[in-house]
């Protein structure tokens, strides 16, 4: 017995010795490589230009017909940039009740007016979180020496959230026109005079014809190998073509795809990914499939000062796709009601409200919807949307009632269920989960409900996945594993029982 103990002791000593030596070597190695990394020579002169988009409302100059010196494009751009920056620093100033940045964009006497209001708001514990979404300036005058410009900014769309004692008091929507006098000082176009000309409450009323989508029989699509990450380096047209073939042959007519906000480059949309997105639509068009494009996937900021950036993102993508034959509709955001708790229902709804207006203004010819995660939220903003859509993962017994209740609430809009499905995972983390047969039963039942009630649908999803990014359902294994088994086709490419009931 003692012999065995001795051997164990010896081997432990030996092992600890090896571990200590390894750690020491690693430590020296890390130190050595740290000392060998220095500043990059190319960065020595700080020649790289760091410009971050912070504020990009729609800015549309009226055709030039100004008095005084003829205006050139370069100066006009400089004036436009500095003018918008002036708005931005003012928004920040009123949001935080600080004076940072105002010196650069308002002349000495003009900034005094803002300081006075900041002082008043600080005293009354008022903060104003504001943004402007549209500017339509007309250049009235440019002085001969190029140092003074006067413009009228027509119909500025302003949005303000006013809080007192950190409690939201009111939301203000206004359409305002300003007369602005700018001076060129120290290389900045600074606001010297600002006079509000008109102001009216603004609520966008769209009288446009409601767009209908009919007969959607679709599926949410990600390739099997890279779900939630189909664009970029892994983009593979061959795989997508094959998958679209499977979808088409199964009797479906639509797919729903997702455009992630951040990896698409936020306000400066990545050209390569945008081309890939168009390619997906091309491929779908070749198979005669329609595409619902879901914007702002993984977006979660919603802060008022970020709105102009999201609108720029949407503008670029919408204008690239809006004439595409395969495009069926826009889903503004996937399950935004899940952000209600962390970001506030009112803020998220306000963002959605403005974004729906914006998308409809950019593309009046395609239906707009919001992919609510449950039927309870589906009535939010229903009057703005062309199509109401929600996701259904609850009990099948309730589906018919839920749908009919919703239908009585929303009479004049088509209602589409844009996600539903069940995981066929039963294993270590969920021994009582559904089997593949249960899944097949589920789809059989739900399809018969769809047929009976004439419900348009898009199922989740074509494939079982191997890897689920942690941003989707977190890291917990029982969630991860469940999410991996929602497919009609398993990870080896074999059709599961449910595949038979993919369509009706």
């Amino acid at each position: 017995m003692s012999k065995v103990n001795k051997t164990i002791l010896r081997s432990l000593l030996l092992l600890s010795y090896v571990v200590i030596i390894a750690l020491v070597i690693y430590g020296f190695g890390a130190l050595y490589s740290y000392l060998n990394t220095g500043a990059d020579r190319s960065k020595m002169l700080h020649t790289e230009v760091k410009q971050v988009d912070q504020y990009l409302p729609e800015l549309e100059w009226a055709p030039l017909a100004n008095e005084g010196r003829p205006m050139d494009q370069q100066t006009l751009t400089a004036i436009g940039n500095d003018y918008l920056d002036a708005w931005y620093v003012k928004h920040v100033a009123y949001k935080t009740n600080t004076q940072k940045g105002l010196d650069d964009y308002y002349t000495k006497s003009a900034r005094q007016n803002i300081f006075n209001i900041i002082a008043f708001n600080t005293e009354n514990k008022t903060t104003i979180d504001a943004t402007t979404l549209e500017h339509h300036p007309t250049l009235e005058f440019f002085s001969e020496d190029g140092q003074l410009a006067v413009l009228t900014d027509h119909n500025v769309i302003e949005y303000k959230r006013i809080s007192k004692d950190e409690k939201l008091v009111s939301e203000i929507n206004e359409k305002v026109s300003y007369k602005v006098t700018l001076l060129l000082e120290d290389g900045f176009w600074r606001i010297r005079h600002l006079v509000k000309l008109t102001s009216e409450p603004y609520l966008k009323v769209t009288n446009k014809k409601r767009l209908k989508v009919t007969d959607i029989k679709g599926i949410n699509y990600y390739p099997q190998a890279n779900p939630w990450d189909m664009f970029g380096d892994h983009f593979d047209t061959d795989i997508i073509t094959e998958d679209l073939d499977i979808i088409k042959n199964s009797g479906l007519n639509s797919i729903r795809i997702f455009v992630p906000y951040e990896s698409f480059g936020k306000s400066s949309v990545d050209k390569i990914r945008l081309k890939q997105l168009i390619k997906v639509l091309d491929l779908a068009d070749a198979k005669n499939l329609k595409v619902m494009v879901t914007l702002f996937d993984f977006y979660g900021d919603y802060s008022v000062l970020d709105w102009t950036l999201t609108q720029r993102h949407a503008k670029i993508i919408i204008n690239a796709l809006k004439d595409h034959n395969a495009l069926s509709s826009w889903d503004i955001k996937n399950e935004p009601n899940l952000d209600f708790e962390s970001r506030g229902e009112q803020l998220v709804t306000a963002w959605l409200d403005k974004m729906v207006d914006f998308v409809q203004s950019q593309d009046p010819n395609h239906a707009v919807t919001i992919g609510w995660s449950n039927a309870k939220s589906a009535s939010i903003l229903k009057d703005k949307l062309d199509v109401v859509s929600f996701h259904y993962y609850e009990d099948l017994d309730q589906l018919e009632t839920t749908y009919k209740t919703l239908k009585t609430n929303i009479k004049d809009r088509p209602i589409v269920i844009t996600e539903f499905g069940v995981s066929s995972y039963s294993g270590l983390w969920n021994p009582f989960g559904d089997s593949e047969d249960d899944q097949a039963d589920y789809h059989k039942t739900i399809q018969s409900i769809f047929s009976e009630n004439d419900i348009q649908f898009m199922s989740w999803t074509l494939y079982d996945f191997d890897n689920i990014p942690k941003e989707v359902v977190g890291r917990l294994p029982w969630r991860q594993n469940a999410q991996k088994h929602f497919g009609f086709i398993d990870k080896n490419g074999a059709k599961k029982g449910a595949f038979e009931f993919i369509s009706n």
Binding site: E67, G68, K90, Y94, S109, A110, Q112, N113, I114, N116, I117, I118, A119, F120, N121, N124, T126, I128, A130, E140, F141, S143, E144, D145, G146, Q147, L148, V150, T152, K160, I162, K164, V169, S170, I172, E174, Y178, K179, T181, L183, H193, L194, V195, K196, L197, T198, S199, P201
Partner: protein, 405 residues
Amino acid sequence: MKLKYLYIVIFSVLLFSTTIVLQTNEVASSYNLVSKQSLYTAGDPIELQFSFTGNSEVYLYCSNSYGSVILNPIVKNFQLSFSIPQSISKKSGVLNWQLVSDKKELSGQIKMQPKAKINSIESYLGPPSIEAGGTDFTMLVVIPTDDLDNPLMDSTKVAIKHQYLTNQTTSDVFTEHGFGYHNIYSETESGRILISSESLDLNSKEYDVNVVPAIPTNFVITSERIHNYADGNQITTFRTSVLRDRFDNIVSDGTFVTFFITNKDGYKSKTSGATINGIATAKLLQPDREDQWTIKAYVEGMANSNTIVLNYKQAVEDFDVTFSEDKRSITIGPLKSFMNQHVPDGMRVHLSVYKNNVLESETIEHSLNGIATFYLNPDRFPKGIYELALSAAGITKKFTEVRYE
């Protein structure tokens, strides 16, 4: 029976009280604007009053040209009264408000006029110098403002006055978009324009703009020199006539004139000068050998002069060369100038050494007291036969078969 009445009483009381509750709920949110004045002058104290019934916990959102505030009401006599702070009411433009209550929104606006009394005339003048001739102009932009820094109402009259030489002019402009402007054109004479403006009996300070002459027209050049010998020592001075623009204004001091000199071999030199009172001068060292210079001056891209020709006579007619005993020291001179005087120090003497018709070395020495000396070092020029060529002032002397031991 008693119970029955009791029930009826209790029931009716309940019914009555719920009706009251319902009524108060309905009445609770009615607000009406009492103060109807919708036009104020900036800086005036403004009180917005609302009659109300029910809930007095409301706010007034209020926004002017620069920003927004939230106001709490003062409640008295069933009226809500909001006094607009100075920081909001002192700016001109539209002042819009909105009553924030849980009921239907009540909103409106007040027009804030700038004061009628002027406090200052903001003036922006530029460019600060313009060209004579009546086509170039400067622009005066004026923004008359009140004492709260608001631009005055549009169509305010501003008299823009300027004085030039003997003329004094007044032009009336009317403000639009908050400002007025006037272009002041130059005349044909250079000088200085004095400008001022006046509005509502307030006079601005004096501004000035320089009217600079236009570009020069063609001119004439002359030259000046002590003598016409090519002694490589004296200096020839070139001078322009007075440079004037096409309106006879003397061009601005500092106008740059370049003189191009071409010698008889076609080589070009240049010298330059800037004008003072319209005249530019430039100098160049005379040549050290007989030559002919052709000179023409330019103000580049604008004007040029006539061409003049200068001849330089040979100053040094001949010179002696003496060798030392070992022939390694060579003395040239004395070099004599046109009156047989020694040439001034510094005349260039050039020695070329050939061996087997191949150039071995070239050396330059400058004369001192009329003499230049070369020494050919035995380390550099070992034993052998050399050919030497010595030249000064354009004269070359050759010595073949110089033998070094």
